[in-house]
């Protein structure tokens, strides 16, 4: 039996005994290819997403296995994109999983020539310190005519247009409450 199985695993044997005498098809196929399946079938879950590049808004499906993204492709259900993606959208997997992604906070001290590490909590505290300081120094209570300004010109922000609406909402809300008005984004560019 073992010999038989061993023999059957030999394509030449299958060529001689099977339907593929020339050994160009069924006889030559190896077990791992016979068992081949798309990796998307191994996904633990599929998240519905939207391409982050241009504003067409192509829908994406994000396949996740073991908490890692294993594939991103177009969602054929979308009335906008019908599952299609351009080269940038098609490169989303690389965008998300590539080695260019930074994972750690980096800090460049004044006059430094290199980056150093900083932990996130500390960095947040330092940013808060600096925001409050810049806000103070740039504060304008009123203009030359005495009109109320109640604002700070000490800090500014320029946002990308790949931020979510919810994020933009909080950004504008927080800065407005702080009196910071030079809050801009790509739409001005």
């Amino acid at each position: 039996m073992g010999v038989q199985r061993w023999l059957e695993s030999w394509p030449v044997y299958r060529q001689l005994t099977g339907s593929d005498p020339l050994g160009r098809g069924a006889a030559a196929e190896s077990p791992s290819y016979t068992a081949m399946r798309p990796r998307t079938e191994t996904a633990d879950r599929v998240a519905g997403s939207v391409c982050p590049f241009c504003a067409v808004g192509c829908a994406q499906r994000v396949y996740v296995r073991d908490e890692k993204v294993i594939q991103i492709e177009g969602d054929p259900d979308s009335p906008i994109s019908r599952g299609r993606l351009c080269p940038k959208g098609s490169a989303s997997l690389q965008l998300v999983t590539g080695p260019q992604r930074q994972e750690k906070v980096r800090y460049r001290a004044p006059y430094a020539t290199e980056w150093t590490d900083l932990d996130l909590d500390t960095a947040m505290e330092m940013v808060v310190d600096r925001m409050l300081d810049a806000r103070e120094r740039g504060w304008q209570e009123s203009d030359e005519h005495g009109n109320r300004l109640a604002r700070t010109m000490g800090m500014a922000s320029l946002g990308g247009a790949t931020l979510d609406n919810e994020e933009n909402y909080l950004i504008k809300k927080l800065f407005t409450a702080l009196g910071a008005i030079q809050i801009e984004n790509q739409a001005r560019i």
Binding site: S49, A55, C86, A91, A156, D164, N165, N168, L170, K173
Partner: protein
């Protein structure tokens, strides 16, 4: 026009290809033969920066040959309205409109108003003259979808009109006269477009615009990034209105926007002059308290939906400040900071250079590469106290202090650069949830697929916790300026535990949608918002996205399983409506203009508007409705007032309000142009912002001397294979390999003149910078004959910078900063330049070469700052004292 759809929006272009296969004709009008042109039926070349001349020509063709869709024009536009006496056109004033103030370079617009039958037009405008232009600027919204419509009071009946369209002061006749100079011959002389081709476009456009057929107009930043950018879109809109192509299926003016949620970031703006939903930021002096603000925003007696702007604003304040916003304290209106001028990103960067700004946040943005005048951007950043950069990858704007071009020239020395830089790794689009708003105003929800790793966080997390920490710091403060922070409603739901939980985007969206302050129940739409504090709503135009407590943006019903307008995929503002002003798809009597082009119509039996899309009209207002005298708001809309956000219910061929540089589009030459304006003495946009500073030099343009130093027209754009400043593409091997190197496209003719060879090196030179690129000699580029003179155009993609897998010079360094006065968007689609063979000089030699070039061109701080050149006004130079 002004769009390279196949390259910049390839997946959207599938619909164009599909339409073409069904017989649609595709015409591409652009300075350069692109991948879009390759698929078009007709490619029409024109000189960059002359689109208004071209469109004006088409408008003139339509008007002189009576080819407009007259029933549509008469019913739905302001063609019949009379403009008050005193209005003078560019025809009269050598390229200026009445009301120009040469001192400030602005218009007072009281002379552009309608003639009112009885009562005055707007009181404030009339009273103040030109003095309030700064205030008007702030109220003007970039890409304002009907917001800041004129606070005209009452009903259309108040405006004098001539339904025969014959009165010399009616809009139609004014339009006719205004565009009468835009003849095919003039189009040829200005644009370089040959009369045969121009006629072909005119005929195709008009023949395809009628009851049975509609024509769509697509534009992108090829239109907006000009010193006359807003008027480009106006010109397109006027033409589409004249031809009845607005509010109808297959028609429209499509702005193809370039970023995943750039529409969202204007709707819910991070823009200095806007609050969410195109509500203006309060202006110092003009908006001292809530009532004055609201009165300025809208008239309580105004017709249409903008009349409800008070409810939108109060609901926003209720969301901002929660229970702390009460009727007694004006709902916290006083806690809002005031603006009083240009606080746009370019102004801010110059303030950085001048040491007036201390800290800067860059949130997924890379101005060192992506903004005009890259050097100014980098020098600005080098003069900050601190800079926070949040991005997926290390970008040029984070590393400017060690590897920017200025380090090579010695203008930035790392050891002497003070700026403290924080780089925070950001979560990607699959590592956070939230909505993007795409180019057709559709919100689509993204689920979180995986958790970000390491220090990667969403902006939502970042700002939520900054807010939380700041509020904790300031909790005990008694300083009144800290009150807004203390009073802020920051009570967003969070997910997960610990000290640093992730805020719930869903909860933020729910509050953007709006809810009843008593029950917390989500509102169903903006019509339910009230000005009495009973509702809170973060963005009125998004109201309805969480209707019934359901995240409507997360709907993903397959397109195969629903109707033609796919109403159950995502959610489109306003009110999940796909086609704005779709009342105009039916005739004044409420019947579709044709069976083929039906969209919404009046169902007499049911007594309501119905159709394939959500009707953009009061549901129960019949077509023939005439409102009573005292009606206001939506109730005051006539049955044929299809443009429901406008105070007069009509689409504006002539804009009595809202535009700062003229009620009608006028061809002005770009700030940097090889040609004199052939239409008027006025060369460029007389209201453009020139920022005349030593660090922002301009190349000379006629009538200034020495334009021969920069003889060629420069234009820049995207490639399919890259994304803007490259932070999301040059870092990716699969994209970097597809377009690995910066190149400059030149015609064979220009190559011969300048001795350039294919794949050789060349450098493009302006008074700001020299950029080196590989030469691509291609038949796709062709010179044009402009008023008898041959003009060459060169093109570069602008995606490269110093970081990433593929690097190159920053094309945006070539540009200076000149902006449109309406929206403060820079003119980056056209400039002048020289092209020289070989590598550019490096280091000090580069600085010297640029200085020599500027000297040869006679460039000083004054160059380009004489913005008024028309006869009859003083020709003043608008320079700033540079520190």
């Amino acid at each position: 026009m002004g769009s390279n759809m196949a390259e910049a929006h390839p997946v959207g272009f599938q619909w164009v290809v599909e339409a073409k296969s069904r017989g649609a004709r595709v015409i591409h009008i652009d300075p350069r033969f692109t991948r879009t042109s390759a698929l078009a039926d007709t490619f029409v070349p024109l000189r960059a920066g002359t689109d208004i001349a071209f469109l004006g020509g088409v408008i003139n063709h339509v008007l002189t040959h009576d080819l407009d869709f007259r029933e549509y024009v008469r019913a739905y536009t302001n063609a019949a309205f009379l403009v008050a006496e005193g209005f003078e056109d560019t025809e009269d004033l050598d390229g200026l409109f009445s009301g120009y103030d040469a001192e400030t370079g602005t218009y007072g617009r009281d002379l552009w108003q309608y003639e009112s039958a009885e009562q005055a037009r707007t009181e404030r405008e009339g009273g103040e003259g030109g003095g309030d232009s700064a205030m008007d600027q702030e109220r003007t919204s970039p890409m304002g979808h009907g917001a800041a419509g004129a606070p005209l009071s009452g009903t259309t009946g108040d405006i004098a009109q001539d339904p025969t369209l014959q009165h010399p002061r009616c809009v139609f006749q004014i339009l006719k006269r205004h565009f009468s100079r835009y003849t095919p011959e003039m189009v040829e002389r200005i644009c370089g477009t040959l009369p045969g081709q121009f006629r072909e476009v005119c005929e195709a456009w008009t023949a395809n615009s009628n009851r049975e057929r509609t024509t769509a107009l697509v534009y992108s930043v090829g239109w907006t990034q000009h010193s006359v950018g807003a008027q480009y879109i106006r010109a397109g809109s006027i033409l589409q209105l004249l031809l009845g192509n607005i509010g109808r299926p297959g028609g429209g003016v499509f702005a193809l926007r370039g970023h995943a949620s750039i529409q969202g970031s204007t709707d819910i703006p991070t823009l200095f002059n806007l609050l969410p939903g195109y509500l203006p930021m309060p202006t110092a002096g003009s908006h001292e308290d809530l009532p004055t603000y609201l009165d300025d925003l809208r008239s309580p007696t105004q017709k249409g939906y903008w009349a409800g702007a008070d409810a939108y604003l109060v609901s926003l304040l209720k969301e901002y400040f929660g229970d702390n916003a009460t009727e007694g304290n004006g709902y916290g209106f006083d806690w809002l900071p005031r603006i009083n001028g240009d606080h746009g990103t370019y102004r801010t960067v110059m303030d950085m250079v001048d040491g007036k700004v201390f800290g800067y946040f860059l949130l997924g943005q890379n101005p060192a590469v992506g903004s005009a005048h890259g050097k100014l951007q980098r020098l600005g950043m080098a003069n900050l106290d601190w800079l926070v950069v949040r991005d997926l990858a290390m970008i040029e704007s984070a590393t400017f202090w060690k590897d920017s071009p200025e380090v090579e020239t010695g203008e930035i020395v790392p050891e002497m650069c003070r700026t403290e830089v924080f780089f925070f790794p950001a979560a990607s689009h699959v590592e956070k949830e939230g909505t993007f708003t795409q180019t057709q105003r559709m919100l689509q929800w993204r689920e979180k697929a995986v958790e970000p790793v390491g220090d990667q966080r969403s902006e939502l997390w970042f700002f939520y916790h900054l807010g939380r920490m700041i509020r904790e710091r300031l909790a005990g403060s008694t300083d009144p300026r800290d009150e807004p922070v203390q009073k802020l409603d920051w009570s967003y739901a969070v997910q997960g535990g610990g000290a640093w939980p992730e805020p719930s985007a869903q909860d933020v969206l729910r509050r953007i949608n709006g809810y009843r302050t008593d029950t917390g129940e989500p509102v169903g739409g903006y019509t339910e918002l009230a000005a009495d504090g009973s509702t809170a709503c973060g963005c009125w135009i998004y109201s309805g996205v969480f209707a019934d407590g359901v995240n409507q943006a997360a709907r993903r019903v397959a397109h195969a399983e629903q109707g033609p307008y796919d109403a159950e995929w995502g959610w489109t503002w306003p009110s999940n409506r796909r086609v704005l002003y779709n009342r105009a798809s039916a005739d004044p009597e409420g019947r579709p203009w044709s069976e083929r082009k039906k969209l919404v119509w009046w169902d007499a039996e049911q007594g309501e508007w119905t159709g394939d899309d959500v009707p953009d009209f009061p549901k129960k207002t019949p077509p023939g409705f005439v409102p009573p005298e005292d009606a206001t708001g939506p109730d005051a809309l006539r049955g044929d007032d299809a443009f429901i956000m406008q105070a007069d219910g009509k689409a504006w061929l002539f804009a009595p309000h809202g535009m700062l540089d003229g009620p009608l589009p006028t061809h002005y030459e770009p700030h940097e142009s090889p040609a004199r304006n052939l239409l008027y003495g006025q060369q460029g946009n007389p209201t453009r912002k020139v920022y005349g500073r030593l660090d922002n030099p301009s190349n000379p343009s006629p009538p200034e001397a020495h334009r021969e130093v920069f003889p060629f027209v420069l234009t820049a754009a995207r490639l399919t294979e890259h994304h803007t400043a490259g932070g999301m593409s040059r870092q990716l091997p699969y994209l970097a390999e597809l377009q690995p190197e910066l190149f400059v496209e030149v015609s064979p003719e220009l190559a011969r003149i300048r001795g350039l060879s294919h794949l050789g090196y060349a450098h493009v030179v302006t008074s700001r910078a020299a950029v080196e690129a590989r030469v691509v000699v291609t038949d796709r580029m062709a010179p044009l004959r402009i008023d008898g003179e041959v003009v060459h155009q060169v093109w570069l993609p602008y995606h490269w910078g110093g970081s990433g897998l593929v690097t190159g010079d920053v094309v945006n360094d070539l540009l200076g900063v000149v902006t449109d006065a309406n929206v403060f968007i820079q003119e980056s689609k056209v400039a002048t330049c020289d092209v020289r063979p070989g590598h550019r000089p490096r280091g000090a030699a580069l600085t010297a070469m640029l200085a020599e070039t500027r000297a040869r061109a006679g460039v000083t701080i004054e160059t380009g700052t004489t913005i008024a050149t028309a006869a009859g006004v003083p020709h003043l130079q608008h320079t700033e004292e540079s520190s």
